[in-house]
């Protein structure tokens, strides 16, 4: 074998340029797979980290365990950490902010992915630790050892000493989930085991889902409801899904591009040496020996290329550490703090490089062995395959003879052409599809902003808690004070009413509707939150009542609704009629057959759950007196029967059905999730229905892009003041977060573009090499033509034309593939799954062609095609005509 290695090594050294190109292609291909695979895996790890921040580090939590059971868990081999906690109560602060107090072991902070940044974790019964942002919400100074008076319904008033400041949990902050932590009470374990929650994190390497169940069984849990898996975390870890199709998809794409490049480069390299192999065979080399030489060469090139490629891939991934990137597998943005080198992708890169180079080697070997030594030496293997077609094709009629020669040669090299096109189409399509998505989102956003709304990106959000009596809300005058602060772009506010829709059972949209009300009753309407049933039997056996939200819109918002209708649905609604008559626009949730609104995997298409059309009459019923008296909403929601006498009905005629619920018409409470129907009416009608006037429950504040710090602070202060008017008001400040998001999206774009550039580069290399080889291999032909009078100028034009032909075909193919992909993306995002899959609906309803990306791809393809001809043209130009002709002799 060593002697073959020596010959192979000599080959490599002899054909330096070719060998370098080969190694480079392997490096590029493995680099690409390792980098993208690692980034993808890093992103997944980040997603898991993010989920840990959202849902905690524990894989499972058990409730209602005894001390013995907890002790048993602690002794289990596969258990990494255990933390026990229970709810102490809800602290109602003086400024109306509610904070849930948790009694927990110190490990609880670890489980919740946070830590003490100042002071210590409470160990004594009168000690407390709080997150910095929660202290701000409570308007308390960040001062350790300060006494805080705390009053809760459950435990009355008590004084605590602030002993620790906890690191902010961004997720909790952005959702306004407020917690405080006090020392764990071991005694509680014995007294009130029902309220204890035991969070368990398992060691790495075990199947968490199975382990959680196994452990539950081992400690004697019989009631399955005592075992609660952290499903979101396990899902992020990929444990709930057997095959990670996203990774498979990316891997296949990478393997395809990388494989094609290596295959085509090495194929050409071997083909170029057919003459040499012919000579070897003429001097009595066996076929086997030729194969050994090829294999030895492959081995050397592969080892060098694949190792360097993997190394550079790993290095590059490390370089990206700290940058912000979008994950490949979700829409969310992540900062790349954790870098994971994917062993899977290294294996994949190695395999794909080896597979493609072996395949190319094998093809070359077969060819070298198939042709006779004489043929091989004369390189006379090509002309044999040329076939004739009686007539010239239509396109040829318009070509001069030089171009005809080029065109015919192109047709003759179909395999080369196909490889070239596929390689280029992959990179180009990736770039164009990405660019199209960007443009689609950009246009959608522009459209939304053109009608005066940027609510999905609002900076500040105020929303009254659902317990707060319906008649309560902010007045126009209060909200105008915010509007008056300079650089406040606009303030959106709505009236909202939690009501019920009285429907005939026929108005439920068959299976979708029936399953929807069942689903909402059992799971969808938060049965644990004591909100009452979602669905109540009606007055007759053919009628039914379901929960809904009524929104009262100001004149300005009605106009906006009209615009939304014309843009989204190309329909007109009579706004003036809405102002004065009992007419309404309805939003109906959509589900698949199983009735679950968010189930992407369920069978069937998304259909509205109610069979309501324009002109139909709907009846809304509300506990008018209960609302007027200001009864706690939770009480009204959960006790339908008790307050049934106070319900009044109002009939509305439907004049429009909006497919997607515009964000600013939404109330943020769970009872008003977009999984329930909304009835949009005018303020006048709202007043008539409920008697409630000038009382707004949901507020969105949009700031100007370049708002000054002072103005921002003023808005924030004013908003916080308003949030404190009513207890438990949701107050979300997204200003910094939105800014970060924007930065992330710019970096993400750069990153995605870099991938497209690498893909196009690698495909370009393949095209360059193919065209280059194709032209060089026809040196003799060029010599002949020159000898019978082809001028240098004509020759250059001819070669240039051939390159441009390759580029054009590849560009046309890329554009067609990209166009199909873009239509697919468009249909998917706009029509098939507009809701529930994407956080913001797509407001662009008409398909468009993103000319910019098409032009770029066409220009790149043509340039690569043309540039690829420069080298061979110069090379052929340098060769004397007599040498060129002699190259066959």
């Amino acid at each position: 074998m060593l002697k073959y290695m020596k010959i192979a090594w000599k080959h490599i050294k002899e054909y330096k340029k070719r060998s370098i190109a080969m190694i480079l292609s392997i490096i590029l291909s493995t680099f690409l797979i390792v980098t993208m695979g690692s980034l993808s895996e890093s992103a997944r790890v980040l997603q898991v980290d993010d989920m840990i921040q959202n849902t905690g580090r524990n894989h499972v939590f058990y409730n209602g365990l005894s001390k013995d059971q907890i002790d048993k868990i602690r002794k289990e081999e596969n258990v990494k950490e255990v933390a026990n906690s229970f709810n102490y109560g809800t602290w109602k602060s003086n400024n109306g902010v509610n904070v849930d107090i948790l009694t927990g072991e110190e490990k609880l902070l670890y489980m919740l992915d946070t830590e003490i940044i100042e002071g210590k974790y409470p160990t004594e019964p009168n000690e407390i630790a709080i997150e910095g942002w929660v202290l701000d919400r409570l308007r308390l100074p960040h001062e350790l050892n300060k006494n805080i008076k705390l009053s809760s319904k459950e435990n009355g008033e008590k004084e605590f000493k602030l002993v620790g400041i906890i690191k902010n949990r961004l997720h909790s902050q952005s959702h306004d989930f407020r917690n405080a932590f006090i020392a764990f009470d071991e005694g509680k374990l014995a007294q009130d085991k029902e309220s204890i929650e035991t969070l368990v994190e398992f060691k790495e390497g075990v199947t968490y889902k199975n382990e959680a169940k196994k452990l539950g069984k081992a400690i004697g849990i019989k009631d399955k409801s005592q075992i609660q898996l952290n499903k979101m975390l396990l899902d992020a870890m990929g444990e709930l899904e057997a095959v990670d199709w996203n990774l498979v998809r990316i891997s296949l794409l990478l393997m395809l591009v990388g494989g094609i490049v290596i295959y085509s480069l090495y194929s050409i390299s071997v083909l170029k040496r057919v003459q040499e192999y012919g000579m070897m065979r003429a001097i009595c080399s066996t076929k086997k020996q030729i194969i050994y030489i090829i294999l030895s060469e492959i081995f050397i090139l592969y080892i060098v290329g694949a190792s360097l490629g993997s190394l550079t891939g790993m290095l590059f991934t490390y370089v990206l550490k700290g940058s912000k990137m979008a994950i490949f597998i979700t829409e969310a943005q992540y900062k790349l703090d954790t870098v994971v080198i994917s062993k899977f992708s290294i294996g994949l890169a190695m395999l794909s490089a080896l597979g493609s180079i072996l395949l190319a080697g094998l093809r070359g070997g077969i060819l070298a062995n198939k042709v006779s030594p004489i043929e091989a030496m004369n390189k006379a293997t090509q002309d044999k395959n040329i076939e004739t077609k009686g007539r010239e094709s239509f396109i040829e009629r318009f070509m001069n003879v030089q171009n005809k020669v080029s065109y015919k040669n192109l047709k003759r090299n179909k395999k080369v052409l196909i490889f070239t096109i596929i390689a280029m189409a992959v990179g180009s399509t990736f770039f164009m599809a990405k660019s199209f998505k960007e443009e689609l989102h950009g246009r959608s956003r522009e459209k939304l902003e053109s009608i005066g709304d940027k609510s999905p990106w609002s900076e500040i959000l105020l929303n009254l808690d659902m317990n707060e009596p319906m008649k309560n809300g902010y007045t126009k005058e209060q909200l105008d004070e915010i509007k008056k602060i300079p650089q406040v772009e606009n303030v959106f506010y709505i009236q909202a009413l939690y009501s019920k829709l009285k429907l005939d059972k026929e108005q439920l949209n068959e299976t979708n509707g029936e399953n929807y009300i069942k689903f909402m009753n059992e799971k969808g309407f938060y049965p644990d939150m004591n909100l009452g049933d979602f669905y109540i039997e009606g007055d007759t056996k053919d009628s039914v009542m379901i929960r809904n939200v009524v929104t009262g819109l100001r004149d300005k918002d009605l106009e906006y609704l009209g615009k939304i209708f014309s843009i989204l649905q190309n329909e007109k609604i009579d706004i003036n009629r809405m102002k004065n008559e009992p007419v309404a626009v309805v939003y109906i949730p959509k589900t698949k057959e199983n009735g679950a609104p968010y189930d992407e995997k369920a069978k069937g298409r998304y259909e509205p759950v109610l069979d309501i059309k324009n002109g139909d009459k709907i009846k809304v019923t509300i506990p008018k007196e209960g609302y007027a008296k200001g009864i706690d909403n939770m009480e009204l929601l959960s006790e339908h029967k008790k307050y049934s006498s106070q319900y009044v009905d109002k009939e509305f005629t439907v004049i429009g059905i909006v497919d997607e619920l515009p964000t600013q018409y939404r109330d943020q409470n769970v009872v008003a999730m977009p999984t329930v129907p909304y009835v949009l009416i005018s303020e006048n009608m709202f007043k008539e229905l409920s008697g409630i006037d000038n009382s707004y429950r949901a507020v969105r504040i949009n700031l100007e892009e370049n708002i000054s710090k002072e103005n921002y602070k003023a808005v924030k202060e004013k908003s916080q003041e308003l949030s404190e008017v009513f207890e438990r008001t949701l107050f979300v400040d997204m200003y910094e977060y939105n800014k970060e998001q924007e930065k992330s999206s710019i970096t993400d774009n750069l990153f995605q573009n870099a991938i497209a550039v690498i893909l196009i580069m690698i495909s370009g290399l393949s095209i360059y090499n193919n065209i280059n080889y194709n032209l060089i291999s026809r040196t003799r032909e060029h010599g002949i033509m020159k000898s019978i009078g082809l001028t240098k100028k004509q020759f250059r034009k001819m070669i240039g034309f051939e390159g441009i032909m390759y580029g054009s075909i590849s560009a046309v193919f890329s554009c067609i593939v990209a166009l199909i992909a873009e239509i697919g993306i468009f249909v998917y995002q706009v029509y098939l799954f507009p809701l529930y899959v994407f956080p913001i609906p797509t407001y662009t309803k008409g398909f468009f062609i993103d000319w910019k990306s098409f032009l770029i791809v066409i220009a790149i393809n043509l340039s690569i095609g043309y540039i690829a001809t420069i080298g061979p043209r110069r090379q052929v130009d340098k060769i004397e005509i007599t040498d060129a002709i002699r190259s066959i002799d």
Partner: protein, 227 residues
């Protein structure tokens, strides 16, 4: 009347000890309408001489006049145009363009010149050379003799002043060789052209009006001595 004249034509390769004198001071003149055979052994410089005469190769020294024009004083572009109008080449290995059919191969130099193809003339030429029925065939569908006849037709297609044939029968059997030379001779006579043919086959050379012998890059006189 002289159609071709070379003056002290030299082609040297390499330097110092490695200097090779492929053609060494050749003075040759050929009359219009004649068939001249250049005979010499392998490596004698006959192909190099022919290439310089045809403007495919530039001489180290000396001049080539065709139709009283010093062809090597022209730039590459003009020389290519001159070549396609005034010189026709026939090579030993036919050198047809594999992707073009017989008709396209023959008319190739006319197309390069952006001139209208005289269909009648080409058809007559093809009939003379007995390849008309192969009009649409590709080179790989023809025998060696047929391919060479196509090459001859291509050389004659632009009605050049001079046809240069480099061992046109080198790849053919003796019967076909004789046939091809006869056809070549017949064609140049018919179209009033001058034929310069390289060969090392004495029998074929005898068919020429004049035989020029070359050895070590020098022409030999009747006595076989360098002149």
């Amino acid at each position: 009347m002289k159609i071709l004249e070379t003056k002290s034509l030299k082609k040297y390769y390499g330097k110092g000890d490695n200097l090779v004198k492929a053609v060494d001071g050749v003075d040759l003149s050929i009359e219009e309408g004649k068939f001249v055979a250049i005979v010499g052994s392998s490596g004698s410089g006959k192909t190099t001489l022919l290439h310089m005469i045809g403007g495919l190769d530039r001489p180290t020294e000396g001049k080539v006049f065709i139709d009283n024009k010093d062809i090597h004083s022209m730039d590459d572009e003009s020389l290519a145009i001159f070549r396609r109008r005034k010189v026709g080449f026939v090579f030993q290995t036919y050198n047809l363009i594999p992707v073009l059919n017989v008709w396209e191969n023959i008319t190739l130099p006319i197309e390069f010149d952006l001139k209208t193809v005289d269909n009648e003339f080409i058809e007559e030429l093809m009939r003379t050379l007995n390849i008309y029925d192969k009009k649409n065939a590709l080179p790989n569908q023809l025998s060696g003799g047929q391919q060479q006849r196509v090459a001859i037709a291509r050389a004659l297609a632009t009605r050049p002043a001079i046809v240069l044939a480099d061992e046109p029968t080198g790849n053919l059997d003796s019967k076909t060789s004789l046939e091809v030379i006869n056809l070549l001779k017949q064609s140049v006579r018919k179209y009033h052209q001058t034929l310069v043919m390289i060969t090392h086959d004495e029998k074929l050379a005898q068919m020429a009006n004049r035989i020029v012998r070359i050895e070590d890059g020098k022409l030999l006189n009747r006595e076989g001595e360098p002149c």
